[in-house]
Symmetry: C2
Subunit: 142 residues, 2 copies
DNA sequence: CCAACAATTACGCTGCGTCAGTGTAC
DNA sequence: GGTACACTGACGCAGCGTAATTGTTG
């Protein structure tokens, strides 16, 4: 945090400093998560170092499972001058509920797969000829 | 299973009989999961009732988590005259491993979300001013 | 002749990766 | 004037949904 905060950054420098690919940064800009302050005469994007703060935030909340749309909403609140913490908390709580649901679904699926695989060898001896099923073991109850 | 097995079906009839949308059926055909036996003079697809067997199979294994590409491989084996059961068993075993990994990842994420949300109110009183973080509660350790 | 059905084409979603072709900075 | 850097634009992935427009069946 030296006094060099006025330096403008090219997209490649932002990419190296943040660890986020150039293409991704341009995509975020397109979605409205970032704005480049200006362009050079030759249309090269120029960013303030501030963009690194935003990218760090984006990485963090994205790792927690929020979509880019949700992140954009948070950043808009931030740009209006408020801390988006309340909004984020709400979204994280929603996210927790969804995670639980997905885990639940996956557990059910896991159970079903387990059941099918356990009975596989036993079943395969009995159900050999059934023209209307492609894999009779799988489709014994349909 | 009456003797009407020679009747050819239009795509809408297939859709109604299988419960799968027309658009999806066309998409499956495009991917090579299905083939229409023939066309009418006016280019309408004609399917044998056989297609219902295939669609039932596709629905079943897709519900177990296999991708359409994997399903296509199984159906190809079937079309070569073999039962694809061994292949399917292998894919389901792989799928089980992946499910376990995904559950594991989601559990980790769940833990992290829980931790963050638990400490939220306590933290929010202390960390109010930090210019380089968008939400200081979230990013206290970065 | 009309209603119901079907055809093809293209664009949308999510989060980017991967060219391709062209211009810019130093 | 070369080389690294950046630009825009298009297409690809998965699995379809949703029009839009035009033709077919009975």
């Amino acid at each position: 945090m030296l006094a060099q905060d006025r330096t403008l950054l090219l997209i490649g420098q932002v990419a190296r400093a943040s660890g986020i690919p150039i293409k991704t940064i341009r995509y975020y800009e397109e979605l409205g998560l970032l704005k480049s302050l200006d362009r050079t005469e030759g249309k090269f994007r120029l960013f303030t170092p501030n963009v690194l703060t935003r990218l760090a935030f984006i990485k963090r909340v994205q790792a927690l499972g929020l979509s880019l749309q949700e992140i954009r909403e948070c950043l808009q609140i931030y740009d209006w001058g408020d801390r988006p913490c309340d909004e984020i908390k709400q979204k994280l709580e929603d996210q927790l509920v969804e995670i639980d649901q997905r885990i639940e679904q996956l557990m059910v699926l896991r159970q079903e797969l387990n059941g099918i695989l356990k009975g596989w060898n036993t079943q395969s001896k009995q159900l050999d000829r059934q023209a209307d099923k492609i894999c009779p073991i799988l489709q014994r109850d349909t």
